[in-house]
C-alpha cells in the first residue's frame, strides 16, 4: 500500500508566528505561539494526507484544491457514510478505504448471516431507536443487510444476539470512519 512507504510527515513552519510572538507580552505571546503552532498543525494535514495519499502526484488529496473547505469535507464524510470507505477513497487513502469497506462489509455479512436484528425506523423504545441509528450508520450496507437477511431475525439463540451486535458495530465503525475522513478532508490530524 502506498501509504506505508511514507516516513514521518514533514513539518511546516508557521511563516509569521516568530515575528509576531516577539512583539506581544508574555502570556499573550505564549497563546499566540500556541495558536500558531496549532495552526501549523492545521495546515499540516495536507501533507499528512499526502502521506496517506502518496500515490497522488502532487502529494495533495485528490478531491483537492489547495485549501481544504468544509463543504468538501462534508461531502467526503457523506460519501464515506453512504458507501463505507468511499470518503477515504476520495482522499486517495487507499489502505484505509479498503480496510473500512471490507471491515464494515464483513461485519454486516456476518451479522445478517447470523440472523441478527436489523432495526427499522419507528422503534417503540429507546433501545430500538438507538439500534436503528447504529444500524443506519452502515449507510447503503444497511439496506444490503435487509436484503440479505430474508428469513428475518432470530435472537432466540446466541448467534442472533451476536449478529445484532455485529450489525450495530458495523454502523458505528462506519460513522467513526466517516468522521475520520471528514477530519482528514478538513486537513486536521487524522
Amino acid at each position: 500500500m502506498p501509504e506505508e512507504e511514507i516516513g514521518p510527515a514533514p513539518v511546516t513552519e508557521p511563516a509569521a508566528a516568530p515575528a509576531e510572538a516577539g512583539v506581544l507580552p508574555g502570556p499573550i505571546a505564549a497563546d499566540t505561539q500556541a495558536g500558531a503552532h496549532e495552526a501549523s498543525h492545521a495546515t499540516l494535514p495536507a501533507e499528512r494526507e499526502a502521506g496517506d495519499a502518496s500515490s497522488s502526484p502532487g502529494g495533495s488529496p485528490s478531491l483537492a484544491g489547495d485549501s481544504p473547505s468544509s463543504v468538501r469535507a462534508v461531502a467526503v464524510a457523506l460519501a464515506g457514510w453512504i458507501v463505507p470507505g468511499l470518503g477515504h477513497a476520495l482522499l486517495k487513502m487507499w489502505g484505509r478505504a479498503w480496510a473500512i469497506f471490507l471491515t464494515v462489509g464483513f461485519l454486516v455479512y456476518l451479522g445478517a448471516g447470523m440472523r441478527g436484528n436489523i432495526f427499522a425506523a419507528g422503534g417503540e423504545d429507546a433501545f430500538s431507536r438507538l439500534g436503528y441509528l447504529a444500524d443506519l450508520g452502515a449507510g447503503s450496507f444497511y439496506y444490503a443487510a435487509r436484503m440479505e437477511e430474508t428469513t428475518g431475525a432470530d435472537v432466540s439463540h446466541a448467534d442472533g444476539d451476536y449478529g445484532t451486535r455485529f450489525l450495530a458495530t458495523a454502523g458505528v465503525l462506519n460513522l467513526l470512519a466517516a468522521l475520520h475522513s471528514y477530519e482528514a478532508a478538513r486537513g486536521r490530524k487524522a
Partner: protein
C-alpha cells in the same frame, strides 16, 4: 443465504479480530505499528472477554 452458526468463542474471536484489524489500520500509519496495535488490541479483547466470562461464571447458575 446460508445461516451462519458460531460458538460463543468463535463469534467473540471473529469480532475481536475484525475490529482489531480495523483499529490497527485506522489508528496507525506504519505497517509495523499497525500490526503491533492490531495484535495488542486482539489480545486485550480476548483477555478481557475471557476474564469477564470467568468473573460472571459464579452467577450463571
Amino acid at each position: 443465504m446460508v445461516p451462519l452458526h458460531f460458538t460463543h468463542f468463535q463469534a467473540l474471536f471473529l469480532f475481536a479480530l475484525v475490529i482489531s484489524l480495523a483499529f490497527g489500520t485506522l489508528g496507525r500509519r506504519k505497517p509495523i505499528e499497525r500490526v503491533k496495535y492490531a495484535a495488542w488490541s486482539l489480545l486485550m479483547f480476548l483477555l478481557v472477554a475471557i476474564a469477564l466470562g470467568w468473573l460472571m461464571y459464579p452467577f450463571s447458575r
